[in-house]
Symmetry: C2
Subunit: 564 residues, 2 copies
């Protein structure tokens, strides 16, 4: 798809697929330097390429379509007219051989057009089920939705790996401490838990949000629904792609820094993960473009609602706004409410709606009242667009985390958790030892820790997926919500949703939560269930014979728990 001249603006790609009626063939051609295909994965070895090109019939373009173009024969030699150039070294992803493809009037059969959204009859008549050219283009691009979701899952995978390594090391490595006493684990330093715990909460939140998006996508595909018709899903996936990949970069950077010089060594994985995943913010749609896709879809929905029931929409919007104000003035002055998840859920909801109304009003004013050109008006609101877009994803992600934490788990998980329940009975009869020491030496310590932490008996059948109890997932959910409101507290203060005192409390709450979940973090990462063979970082306590010097003992050896 990508060309030298056009990465994000796919509509203007310049590669041509001109129909030759007499030969019943398409002529694939690169008309200029800007039209060369770039960053093509496997370009140096592949036999076939799926090439996006302007479909030209009778000298007129029908917009970008996708064509199957054979580029090499079975022996690996390029076909005549095809040029491939290696793009050499990248920051990471060294296993992917990116290259440039150039086509010099390469002929392919008429059948090689992927014709779901636009086909060509043998006589040269173009037909598409979608008449509007722009809508057709959107339908073709909607095919990117599943791969964007895949990028989200990959980013989460990298976060889980990085956090597992950094948190295990933080519970093993010691530095500084009270005078003449043993040094403390580095996780005990306030700044260390403050840097790592919010990322762990975010990773859990993203797990549930992207699982939710995956469920919707499966359902649509199962029902044979066109992806382009699921605007909220497209918006959500574009937003999740941007949000998760940016969070991944921040998370791995903190993992790298929190593991010091050890984190800079390739043996310990984090650096390599950083380099490999850095491009996630760019490919499958640049993140800044993704944020615009989100808002375009949100506004399309909004417009549709307004067209269908203009008065009702307006009234609802007004009523919700009134409700927000009531909640605000009531809640913001009550001491403990910022600690309630319901308050946080309402806060992120409020922010999304206010930003959306504000953006609609601004664009309306610029385009309709001031008659500004749409591109210029949109561009002057890009910062606002980006804020709304992320606010939308934050809201959905917090909601999905909340719902998942409340929901009863699948039978498989329930059975696993019940087993913990039995284990508890046996272990409760053992004498209690010092908790910290236990976790390092004793393989059965995980279960004991699991129980010792709960002041009330664990209700096995109500636990959420993974090894975490409802209460603990709840704590991480609260931490995630607190982080979201904390990072946007200036906005909430500007909109008088938070009083200065409430804003200060949000900060204390963030610090307290990070401190209180830092030991549970070990159990959450063990519930990620990453096999040691895939982890293979010596500082995480997994021996590597080629780098014995980097080995640190594992902080504890929990039993494998359900996948999160």
């Amino acid at each position: 798809m990508t060309e030298r001249g056009h990465g994000s603006n796919v509509k203007r790609i310049q590669t041509e697929a001109t129909f030759d009626l007499s030969a019943q063939e398409f002529v694939i051609h690169t008309p200029c330097e800007d039209a060369v295909k770039m960053y093509i994965g496997n370009a140096m070895h592949g036999n076939y390429a799926a090439v996006f090109a302007q479909l030209i019939v009778d000298g007129r373009s029908q917009g970008p379509h996708c064509f199957i173009v054979p580029v090499r024969d079975e022996s690996g030699s390029l076909y005549p007219g095809v040029t491939a150039i290696d793009m050499m070294y990248k920051e990471g992803l060294h296993g992917v051989d990116n290259g440039i493809l150039i086509f010099d009037k390469v002929r392919i059969p008429r059948d090689n057009l992927l014709d779901k959204f636009g086909s060509l009859a043998p006589g040269g008549q173009y037909y598409s089920p979608i008449e509007d050219k722009s809508a057709r283009f959107n339908a073709i691009l909607a095919a990117l939705t599943p791969s964007r979701l895949a990028v989200t899952f990959q980013a989460m995978g990298a976060m889980k790996l990085g956090l597992t390594i950094a948190i295990r090391y933080s519970h093993s490595r010691r530095q500084f401490g009270p005078k003449a006493e043993e040094e403390v684990k580095i996780i005990a330093h306030q700044t260390q838990s403050l840097r790592l715990m919010p990322h762990l909460a975010t990773t859990l939140a993203l797990t549930f949000a992207s699982r939710y998006a995956g469920g919707l996508l499966d359902e649509d595909i199962f029902q044979g629904k066109e992806l382009v018709d699921s605007r909220p899903l497209q918006a959500l996936v574009a937003g999740l792609k941007a949000y998760s990949t940016w969070e991944n970069i921040r998370c791995l950077q903190d993992c790298r820094e929190c593991t010091g010089g050890m984190g800079y060594m390739m043996e310990n994985r984090i650096s390599g993960l950083k380099c490999d995943t850095d491009v996630f913010v760019t490919f499958e749609g640049d993140n800044v473009v993704m944020l615009q896709v989100v808002v375009r879809e949100l506004l399309a929905q909004y417009t549709k609602q307004c067209q269908e029931r203009p008065l009702a929409s307006w009234l609802r919007s007004w009523a919700e706004s009134g409700g927000d104000n009531l909640r605000t003035s009531f809640l913001a002055f009550t001491a403990n409410t910022v600690g309630a998840l319901t308050f946080l859920l309402k806060a992120v909801n409020f922010r999304e709606r206010v930003l959306q109304r504000g953006l609609v009003a601004r664009i309306y004013y610029k385009v309709v009242t001031k008659k500004e050109d749409f591109f210029g008006a949109w561009n002057s609101c890009l910062h606002h667009v980006a804020s709304l877009s992320l606010a939308h994803v934050h809201r959905v992600t917090l909601e999905q985390f909340y719902l998942a934490a409340r929901r009863c788990p699948e039978p498989e998980h329930r059975a696993l958790l019940m087993k913990f329940g039995k284990e508890r009975d046996r272990l409760e009869r053992l004498p209690q030892k010092n908790k910290e020491k236990d976790t390092e030496a004793d393989p059965s310590a995980f279960c004991r820790l699991h129980i010792n932490k709960s002041s009330s008996p664990v209700e096995g059948d109500k636990l959420t997926p993974g090894a975490s109890s409802k209460e603990e997932t709840g704590q991480f959910c609260l931490l995630y919500g607190t982080k979201l409101v904390f990072q946007e507290r200036a906005w909430y203060l500007e909109h008088k949703y938070l009083t200065p005192a409430a804003s200060t409390r949000i900060r204390s709450q963030l610090l307290d939560l990070c401190d209180s979940v830092k030991d549970d973090a070990l159990r959450v990462i063990s519930a990620f269930n990453i096999p040691h063979a895939f982890l293979h970082a010596p500082i995480a306590g997994i021996a590597n014979p080629r780098a014995t010097w980097a080995f640190y003992p594992a902080p504890l050896r929990p039993k494998p728990a359900a996948k999160l």
Copy 2:
């Protein structure tokens, strides 16, 4: 210095240098696995090592001292008792061969002790000009100050390189635009200038702040003053090291993302710079530790002032606080003041002082009133410590930027700028063309641009260093101050220093400034004066025969200007 068990906590290193009276030698020994020397640069090739070890006389340690230990003979063979292990692959800095050094009772002459702060007589009597062991340790560590400043300069160098590449590309690459018109330069997208311009302003600010610190350091060295006696300078340099290296990471990450897939290609430099400089936040003192050094020094100063003139200090602090409040309530309600540099200077000053007073009060309460252990009390304030530390560096950096922008340049710069004045006369007689087109095609466009931008005549002899006029540096200085207040606006709102309306104006001001300086940015980066041979990134318009595919035309060819 660094050992496996002790990186940041140097005081507790375990390598031993035991004095053998009869042989008049020190025995350098690694007593355990945690004591092996790690990350040692050039460990695989060096002939001598400067080894930090506990100096032990008569079974008692005098604390860490530095010893010269021969590790290899001239042919490169390790001496008996020395083991060197390669630490293999890192994220970057592949030219530095880091390794492990282990000593098995290696004997060195008594003279090999570097004895400025502690010497040993032939009879075994230890003498140090600094009696207090802790103060002696601080004096030895003060030697790190110059190398920390060097890291700051390296980080700035990387920022300048990255920004030069990203800004040149952003002024050359086009994507999206109004319907049926030529696509716009990507710098014209609001988000692009919003991501790059604040980094450019920060780089300029850091240039002046670190030049200021360098000046103080030179002066101290020239006057033969001990570094440990310059507490404010030590605090500033530790802070600048942390601040500049973190800003560098954020800056290069944005440069990478703002140059899309091209930024991920090694040929375009940014990825390599990122990997090489990533460890800057860790080495020469982990940044989180550096922030604590800053605050320790600030509090030491504070305590000293209070001890010397307790009433005066208290009164001054109180008076300044009252002044702050007056300023606040007056300024925050006046419409245009947030746009004044004086307001921003006062704001960062206010923040530093309030944070300092707050921290002193908190620690006093915890340690004196509540009798908490100092380590625990300090640790529970680490987030506060980090905020104060950065607030201090921000304040000094903005002040130094402001002073530099106001100051008259050196004669050499003045002469260069006078030449522009003459150039102007010639160019003003030329017909005026479309500004944007000019800058790309015409080598003399730089000068014309220089003049066209100014509404009033340029006063050559009052220009600041580099190619920027006073007015423009002023704009970047305003942008830097705006960025500082914008990023902490939640704090200012919490402390009622900003009203919600003023806070919203700060955001608009940031957006407006980023937009208005985006063309001047080309002249600022040209004033960095980086030779093309060092830049060699094809997307910056510097041809590379091995990667012709990455070449983008240079946005304009300004005349070389003075170094910044």
